[in-house]
Symmetry: none
Subunit: 248 residues, 2 copies
Amino acid sequence: MLKKERQAYILHNINLHNRLLVGDLSIEIKVSEDTIRRDLQELSDHGKLIKVHGGALSKSFHNSFNSASIYSIESKKIIAQKAASIIKDGMFVHTTGGTTIIEMAKALPESLHATFITGSVPAAFEYMLHPNIEIILIGDKLSKTSQITVGGSAISSIKDIRADLCILGINAFDLQHGLTDNDWDIVQVKKAMIESSEKLVLLTISEKLNTSQRIRICETKEVDILITELAPTSDILTQFIKEGIEVL
Amino acid sequence: MLKKERQAYILHNINLHNRLLVGDLSIEIKVSEDTIRRDLQELSDHGKLIKVHGGALSKSFHNSFNSASIYSIESKKIIAQKAASIIKDGMFVHTTGGTTIIEMAKALPESLHATFITGSVPAAFEYMLHPNIEIILIGDKLSKTSQITVGGSAISSIKDIRADLCILGINAFDLQHGLTDNDWDIVQVKKAMIESSEKLVLLTISEKLNTSQRIRICETKEVDILITELAPTSDILTQFIKEGIEVL
DNA sequence: TAATTAATTGCGGTTTTATGCAATATTAAA
DNA sequence: TTTAATATTGCATAAAACCGCAATTAATTA
């Protein structure tokens, strides 16, 4: 049994029974207790479970100290944290499915009661792990490159749902060209999402700012909030603030 | 064996068994372990699999331990193989998203060109890993317990698509009560899938045969093909053959 | 086609990782 | 407090991964 498999088995087990004993597990999968302990240590370091004397406990029991924010050095995690903070109970939120959005989904607090609308399979997967989030899946033909549904049916479904926020992980944004992308189908979907939402929120790492691509999604003035890994006081961001965009 | 062939072989293998060991594979296809490692590195770089110490794991690995207990997983793989064999190029196939279906998705040959229609997030995930499969995702409210979309909109979308096969992973089936289940929403979805397909195929481990639950999905005579882990000559299956069901 | 270039592969030596064992320290329960 | 169970630590060993190199093979170009 490979180490990763063993750890997956441990996680599965602990999510099922909420607790486990080192001794039991050692016999069950025929490795020394030391190895189990080391696995538990590692999983605990990654915040997947709580290690205690004699075994481990599921995180869902003791989730008071959610380690998510402690370790978030990485840009996307910073963005995710900021984005998660603007979503309030009861909101309806349109989202796409880029890596930044996935990070955001992971960063959502367990207490949040909200409804997410998405055509992205990996995003739906993340949302499903949260206890209090309702998910509306947008159906249509699934684009394999982007792992999101695209097409007329998807667009009309999106337009049926009036949301509070539209949170987009983006590819390119500058003042002159506005929000742009390079995939026609995705652009159509994003346009529909923007249309049927009150506020438009962009998530992006700063290096995508001041770049542009071929197809326009919307103009600069339609953007309400811009979230990057940088502090709002950062030089690159002042131009956007001048245009009336709220920068977090 | 050429590099491309070898890598294709590796991918096929890993999608089938979820895991592989460098040593095993080295012996199996008679190249050095270094070569295997380099292949795995490359495939890992392209996101086709997850490389770990000692071997590699399938990308869909995190689902593999989730609900299937180890003992029935072998049965499900046998079922998956048989099911995969009845799907031909060009077919449209309605599927649900149980563990058996997931196994089937993993067992589909890379060469298969077909279109799968599903409201299941994990199933969609699996289908996405295959190069030649088109996916139509059924949208609606996502049920967290079953990880599948349910509701009126899902049902009407399903009815819009006339398929060749409807492949259901099932909960209970006996001659007297027919096909039954215990979740109202899921039953409605399955009914719609059956209605809009030419043939109805059931996948199940044999222990679910001759059991029944509260809500009827369809009658015995509507079932075309039954697939279990047992040989078609097995005693338990003769009763179904007598009813005119094709048993694989 | 021949010659050159690039890619692929296997091998030896080195480094890293995984794991078990034993000695010691810590914890928790009687 | 005493005692039995559990953790920690350092160490040994085997397996696996990595690195550079040379031999081979495939692809490109003259």
